[in-house]
């Protein structure tokens, strides 16, 4: 743990100083490996490799294997980023041709202006904010073959049939829609042409407000270093107009989240927040005395308390908009709304109860539930190689299913037990925990032992998904589900027939003999 904290601190120092600090003495190989892992987890492996590539003397003690691994990360990040931005551009164009206004959010809104290359900052997914008719936008993309994997109260999670990339189609920047109103016409009129693939971007002022809402309200001020770096780069690379920022922040009722996020960004990455912005708000009391890494994943955010603090004077509204969310295009009677509100309250009470509070907020820090995402205790991290060690240390791991893609075998909220590959070698038909570029997925192995002939790479797929996940190396399959807690032996988790059906569905989608259902 101490080593990973030291690695994280090294990466932070690197980002704040802009140059490569010297490797800690003693065991440079282990230190370099740990730092590479931390950089990868924090979405800045490409930036680290660029520094290693350009800073001759400082890079000399770094082992060649670590440099080569970072170079591979960088190439993969480039390919992924380029494709994600192409997806954003394609969907924006599709919506535009249908007369619907939409703008990119977060990574897709800033990668081409705040970073020199797509490999310098990774994105988990592509986020777009639909300003007009969200139900129509969703229907258009469904017609184009996008598969809806999950829904949150502020966005639908869709999977691109061509690339498998994940797209979040938002009708609100944050959950509890309406809490931070969208000035749709203002956002559009202030937007600017993009310099690269994405045709139109939010103004710098709107981008700052949106990043702040995302950081403070959505994630309780715990983000990856790449996400904090966005704030710093925004101040360094785009000019902000005070009056426009005031307008954007006022329209979104986002003054408190803005102040909190800027204060945290100053602490974490020394974001050069201008004096005129710092003078506007008193220093948020809850942030005082906290260390920089307290704001960086995998730190556990105090989401509930931060939300209450940010919404001082509006707490009843927070409660109302959290329980009685309104989804555009969905009509509900009073009784239905009350019923849904009660169900949501029960869910929140269960999740935020004393036993699961820690795990729930930790998973919230890593991102909203998406297609087949899982959360677990101890915290699961997609790319750090920790999981195999955890499997060795514990007889089984327990994770909570948060996606909807594996129904009826697995439902959101199910807690499943996983054992290591060594304990139960994965076979076609098993539900496995697999490491994908977009994170960990609990999906079914549809191509693997004993069928993986001719050196073909393994494949997984969601039972309700129409397309295969990206190809996997065997070592990316980390464990196998052996039990759904609470229903031992009752639920058919593993199944050749289900696997065959998924495989054929994926194959049909791949060759496009007929439209995907």
């Amino acid at each position: 743990m101490a080593e990973s904290k030291a690695s994280l601190a090294f990466v932070r120092d690197f980002l704040t100083q802009g140059t490569l600090p010297p490797l800690p003495g003693g065991a440079p190989w282990e230190a370099a490996e740990g730092i590479a892992v931390a950089a990868r987890q924090q979405g800045v492996a490409g930036l680290l490799h660029r520094a290693l590539d350009s800073e001759g003397e400082a890079a000399r003690p770094w082992p060649a294997e670590v440099k080569e691994a970072l170079a591979r990360d960088r190439r993969n990040a480039l390919a992924r980023g380029v494709r994600q931005l192409a997806l954003a551009a394609r969907v924006l164009d599709r919506l535009h041709r249908a007369g619907l206004r939409a703008l990119p959010l977060k990574g897709a809104a800033l990668l081409e202006t705040l970073y020199d290359s797509e490999d310098h900052r990774t994105m988990a997914d592509v986020d777009l904010l639909v300003l007009d008719d969200w139900p129509q936008a969703r229907a258009l993309l469904a017609d184009d073959g996008f598969v809806e994997c999950d829904r949150a109260d502020h966005a639908a999670v869709l999977r691109d049939p061509d690339t498998g990339a994940v797209l979040e189609l938002h009708h609100s920047v944050t959950s509890s829609p309406g809490l931070f109103p969208l000035d749709r016409d203002g956002l559009w009129s202030r937007s600017v042409p993009g310099p690269g693939q994405v045709p139109r971007l939010p103004s710098a002022e709107d981008l700052l407000v949106q990043l702040s809402l995302h950081a403070a309200f959505q994630h309780g001020l715990v983000l990856s270093l790449a996400q904090w770096l966005d704030f710093r780069r925004l101040f360094e690379r785009r000019s902000l107009d005070p009056q426009r920022l005031l307008t954007a922040s006022g329209a979104a009722r986002a003054a408190a989240p803005l102040a909190a996020a800027l204060e945290a960004a100053r602490v974490v990455v020394e974001a050069p927040v201008p004096e005129w912005l710092r003078a506007g708000e008193a220093r948020p009391a809850r942030l005082q005395g906290r260390a920089p890494l307290d704001f960086v994943t995998p730190a556990a955010p105090d989401v509930a308390r931060i939300r209450l603090a940010l919404l001082r004077g509006r707490r009843l509204e927070l409660l109302h908009r959290t329980l009685f969310t309104e989804t555009p295009g969905e009509q509900a009677s009073f009784l239905q709304r009350v019923g849904r509100g009660a169900a949501r309250a029960a869910r929140l009470a269960r999740h935020w109860g004393p036993e699961t509070l820690r795990g729930t907020v930790a998973s919230a820090a890593r991102g909203r539930p998406a297609c087949g995402h899982v959360s677990g205790t101890p915290p699961l991290s997609p790319a750090d190689g920790i999981l195999p060690h955890l499997f060795r240390g514990f007889p089984f791991l327990r994770v909570t299913v948060t996606g909807d893609c594996m129904r009826p075998a697995l439902a959101p909220g199910d807690r499943v037990r996983l054992v290591s590959r060594e304990q139960r070698p994965p076979r076609v038909g098993d539900v496995v925990l697999a490491r994908h570029p977009e994170g960990l997925r609990l999906h079914r192995l549809v191509w693997g032992p004993p069928l993986a002939w001719f050196g073909l790479r393994w494949r997984t797929q969601a039972d309700r998904g129409a397309i295969w996940d990206p190809a996997l190396e065997p070592e990316d399959v980390l464990g196998t589900v052996v039990e759904v807690e609470g229903s031992p032996g009752l639920r058919a988790i593993h199944g050749w027939l289900t696997s065959l059906r998924s495989l054929l569905r994926g194959l049909r989608s791949w060759v496009r003999l007929e439209p995907v259902e």
């Binding site: 490409g46 590539d53 390919a79 490999d119 498998g164 990206p470």
Partner: protein
């Protein structure tokens, strides 16, 4: 003159080229199955040719550039150029040629 030398090829919008860490990488934007996981590395000569493919410069002019820049004889340059163009076509990296 070989037909391929008289034609001017352009870069497909479905393929994006980027230079990182001394490498030139082509990224296909769309594909199917394993294709979408692929990226292509170009060497210095390949990167030079790729950057010339703007749909207006024909193969012969690009070969002239190769001969001048990389100190290679014309016959070798022509053969390498033709082979490279064939590879790029096979991965859908080029637009339809125009004869100039």
């Amino acid at each position: 003159m070989k037909p391929v030398l008289a034609e001017a090829f352009g870069r497909s919008e479905r393929m994006v080229g980027r230079r990182i860490a001394g490498e030139y990488i082509l990224v296909p934007l769309v594909g199917r199955g394993a294709d979408i996981d692929s990226i292509f590395n170009l060497n210095r000569v390949g990167a030079f040719v790729w950057e010339q493919l703007d749909g207006r410069i024909n193969g012969s002019a690009i070969v002239d550039g190769l001969v001048e820049r990389f100190e290679v004889d014309r016959e070798t340059a022509e053969a390498d150029y033709a082979g490279f163009i064939e590879q790029l076509r096979s991965i859908g990296a080029l637009t339809a040629p125009t004869s100039l």
